[in-house]
Symmetry: C2
């Protein structure tokens, strides 16, 4: 268990960075072998399905991270306002204050989109549902909470792209703060 799983987990973390920085098509096997330090043989030992399986593993890893650290906390919390605050803090940390892109967004904006449409759909739909319900437990009306959740989640993606394009990570933080303010109970 320990060794193997741990190493595979390490590989997945490195794979995630490679896909994030170079995109799916841009992440060649030679680049992957270089960054992971693993030869093709080892790579195909861990991921017999090749590059596609590597990306699936990474997306699955990300999905479960968000599930436990974001979605579940939004759902379980009895103090939705605090849970939503936690969400924004986690998001800020996860995306390194705007210096890191969202791999889900990267894939969605690439030609590999079709290959992973199920994962993409679930990730964004689950996030939207969890946030909308937390907003609801905060007293927000049905229509408005659906729309706001959508706006916030999209806003985060756009802020990441904008921050990278402007080469100004702080743009991410500024937008995030505004989105957060819009989720405050006092704003309803």
């Amino acid at each position: 268990m320990s060794r193997v799983v741990a190493e595979r987990q390490d590989v997945i973390a490195t794979l995630a960075e490679v896909f994030r920085e170079h995109g799916y098509d841009g992440a060649s096997l030679s680049l992957i072998t270089e960054k992971t330090g693993l030869g093709k043989g080892s790579l195909y030992h861990f991921f017999p399905g090749g590059k596609e399986e590597m990306a699936e593993a990474v997306l699955g890893d990300i999905a479960s991270w968000f599930q436990t650290h974001i979605f579940d906390r939004l759902n379980d919390s009895e103090t939705p306002a605090a849970a939503i605050d936690d969400m924004f803090a986690s998001v800020d940390g996860y995306f390194r204050q705007g210096r890191r892109l969202c791999l889900m967004g990267v894939i969605a904006a690439s030609g590999a989109h079709d290959r992973f449409s199920v994962e993409l759909n679930r990730y964004f739909a689950d996030w939207r549902t969890a946030l909308a319900e937390a907003l609801g437990r905060q007293g927000m009306a049905e229509k408005e909470r659906q729309a706001l959740a959508e706006e916030v989640i999209g806003g985060i993606q756009g802020a990441l792209i904008l921050a990278r394009s402007l080469d100004d990570p702080q743009a991410f933080s500024r937008i995030l703060a505004r989105l957060k303010a819009r989720c405050q109970p006092s704003q309803n």
Copy 2:
């Protein structure tokens, strides 16, 4: 003039679609020859710099379209509220009600980002400046208009990614409507 320029312009439009749908790395020359109907010889005749020059031509074309149809109108208009409304209408049309991605965003989220960082930076910075100034002529305070312009432009990018990921173009329209409402003079 006519023949050459016109044809090159047609090619650029097709190139834009290919890059949009497949990303920079995913747009192989064989795919480009197929979609444009032009052999490599013709392609390299029009774009001696190869794929990179093709992408530059497309980005330049997009930049000038936005310059004349969006940025200039925001700047020139003496009725900023109407100009901002026009912007949202143009954006909705340009992105085909959420069924079309923004190539600038696609490139920004890809490994080819570094190659085109100048173009990306200018596109988003110009848009932000133009929108912020229009908001200013509408009476909005300096700080708030900068922040709102940033939020709107990022929000559009994110809405496109979200709409594609959820396979729900209407998500784009819904978010766009909210962003537009936030720019209304009555909201200030």
